[in-house]
């Protein structure tokens, strides 16, 4: 790892940011290589607080890698990640999560041996403190905390509409509900930033509408939401800002309208004109 701490301000990329107020998340020339493959190549962007921002790009553009680097699953090769002005690049995943970044996974990554309620309660881990002995001996503080977490988790499940599924096993749920469990689990972390990896991939039209309403409601409550998605109508209708990634580099950024008409974007998706 050779992350250079120098010149993180005043370089040309940051001029793109529309208003120079404090960004919730700021990526500064973030790079990640896998062997000879440049999964992320000097990606720079800012996420303003309380917005819905999407990232699109062809398969293999590095979108999921970007979430994995930001959340600490992968170590970046170079560049910086600032969350609430703090450099979090290279921290272990669990510390980054406890700073307030919640996420979902493209393939849900739910805990198969836990019930829906228990899955979501795992999200509350960072907001509870009981240790091994408190839990094992059922001391009063641990019991009180468990009850509080359970009540809060039921609220989160109600928020996504799964309260009557609380005691079901994960394997008994259809895909749409599994994706909702993933969101409820991340919500239990009470994050400032929620990163959703293909939240509506593989869902039917009426389910997608539900997700649209849910995500807009979450944004209204003050959450900043970052979405990776291939479903263009969904992205275009929900996003305030769209970032386009192609072969590890950011090729465009702007409002949905701007991105839709950007030549480089059209090129990346449809190939060069002959």
């Amino acid at each position: 790892m050779n992350r250079s701490g120098a010149t993180r301000h005043n370089h040309e990329h940051s001029k793109i940011a529309t208003v120079e107020k404090d960004a919730l998340l700021h990526l500064d020339r973030l790079s990640k290589h896998f062997g000879g493959i440049r999964a992320l190549d000097e990606v720079t962007f800012r996420l303003e607080e309380n917005r819905i921002v999407s990232m699109i790009g062809p398969n293999g553009a590095g979108k999921t890698t970007l979430i994995n680097v930001v959340t600490g699953i992968y170590l970046p090769d170079s560049g910086e990640v600032y969350f609430q002005k703090e450099d979090i690049a290279g921290l272990p995943a669990h510390s980054i999560a406890s700073k307030g970044i919640g996420r979902t996974f493209q393939l849900e990554e739910l805990f198969g041996s836990l019930t829906v309620l228990e899955n979501a309660m795992v999200g509350g881990h960072t907001r509870s403190r009981s240790g091994m002995f408190g839990c094992g001996f059922r001391v009063a503080s641990a019991r009180a905390e468990e009850k509080r977490m359970r009540d809060e988790t039921m609220e989160a499940l109600a928020m996504v509409g799964l309260e009557d599924r609380a005691f079901h096993s994960i394997s008994s749920l259809p895909l749409g509900e599994r994706k909702l469990v993933g969101i409820a689990r991340a919500l239990c972390m009470k994050p400032r930033l929620l990163m959703l990896d293909e939240p509506v991939g593989g869902l039917a039209a009426h389910e997608i509408e539900k997700f649209l309403a849910l995500i807009q409601r979450l944004a209204k409550e003050g959450l900043t939401i970052f979405i990776i998605e291939h479903n263009m109508p969904f992205v275009m209708s929900i996003s305030e800002q769209v970032i386009v990634l192609d072969q590890g580099s950011k090729i465009a950024e702007g409002s949905p309208e701007e991105v839709k008409n950007n030549e480089r974007v059209i090129e990346a998706y449809l190939g060069e004109e002959v």
Binding site: S113, L114, T115, M121, M132
Partner: protein, 335 residues
């Protein structure tokens, strides 16, 4: 046992405690109670190992070593009259916790069969150490003349006393573990087994919880070792060997991976099957008991894996569900 996350029922606990208290009254046979002592102690070991393998996904095979270290430390402290016997048990368990902490910190970075190999190494080292440190442990002859356990002047003289001690430890650790796995810490541990990536992304410090659980289960196993050495009044390297590990794994598989009560059931079944084979087959085929036992358990494990892959506990659960369904059907149309 109850995986639904609802309030857990109290009835099984009453049944278990009632059975343990009443058994010596109903069957006051020294032989039966002696075997039941073993069921309790092995139950502690099987539950501890089962929680590591089944719930945390840590294939740690050093369980007999922790058991042995706990037994030897408690035994040596008592033989040399360094501490009162009951303090020796606690010192033994603390010593085990210390070793397992220093071994676990580097070893738990390994996954799957690599962890199994490394902890298997610990098992072998333990066996050699028990034999070679003969100044302390008595070597191959074993540690002899361990005095009986006494607490505050009360001497554990007969097998009934040890029976109650072993089951107090067993029920206590079952209660502790089952609280644990249904709590914040337990969910952290179980979730890291299902998806480590997601677990970390929820803010769980996975290595820390793994190490905590590893040390905890070793500590409890060490306690069981201390109790065991005072019951036998003797300790030898061959007791804490690979054979014990095989027996424990057998209990876990037969009981059903994933259920704490199942591991205890596994201990009950395996210990009694072993006794039956020794007592009855010994009379029929006096020359080949050892081989028969090995072959019998080998065949048994194959049958269990084919016909009840979730072990006895899974099978009992299925029976309960079937019974409930028929009961509801009968109630609906009482023709």
């Amino acid at each position: 046992m109850n995986r639904s996350g609802r309030v857990r029922p109290h009835l099984p606990w009453f049944i278990l405690i009632g059975a343990v208290v009443l058994l010596p009254v109903i069957i006051p046979s020294k032989y039966v109670i002696g075997v039941m002592f073993l069921v309790g102690i092995y139950g502690v070991l099987a539950i501890s190992l089962g929680i590591l393998i089944g719930h945390a996904g840590l294939f740690s095979l050093a369980q007999p070593t922790w058991f042995g270290v706990g037994a030897y430390v408690a035994g040596v402290l008592a033989v040399r009259e360094i501490t009162p016997p009951w303090i020796g048990i606690i010192m033994g368990a603390l010593f085990v916790a210390l070793i397992s902490y220093s071994m676990g910190a580097p070893l738990l970075r390994l996954r799957g069969h690599y962890l199994a190999c490394a902890t298997f190494g610990l098992l072998i080292i333990g066996e050699i150490a028990f034999t070679q440190l003969s100044d302390i442990t008595g070597g191959n002859t074993g540690l002899l003349d361990i005095p009986p356990l006494s607490i505050n002047g009360f001497v554990f003289r007969n097998v009934f006393h040890y029976y109650f001690l072993s089951w107090a430890l067993c029920i206590g650790s079952l209660w502790f573990y089952s609280n644990l796995i249904h709590s914040r810490v337990g969910r952290a541990i179980r979730s890291s087994h299902d998806s480590e990536t997601a677990s970390k992304s929820m803010g769980i410090n996975v290595p820390r919880y793994r190490l905590q659980l590893f040390v905890l289960t070793s500590f409890v196993t060490g306690l069981a070792g201390g109790v065991f050495c005072f019951y036998l009044r003797f300790a030898a390297p061959s007791i804490f060997s690979f054979a014990l590990l095989v027996e424990l794994i057998l209990m876990i598989i037969i009981g059903g991976i994933g259920s704490l009560w199942g591991y205890l059931l596994g201990s009950l079944v395996i210990i009694w099957l072993g006794e039956l084979i020794n007592v009855y087959l010994g009379k029929v085929l006096p020359v080949m008991t050892g081989e028969v036992e090995a072959v019998f358990f080998g065949v048994l494990i194959i049958f269990v894996l084919i016909f009840m892959p979730r072990g006895l506990s899974g099978w009992v659960e299925q029976l309960f569900r079937l019974g409930k369904r028929t009961y509801e059907q009968v109630r609906r149309n009482p023709a």
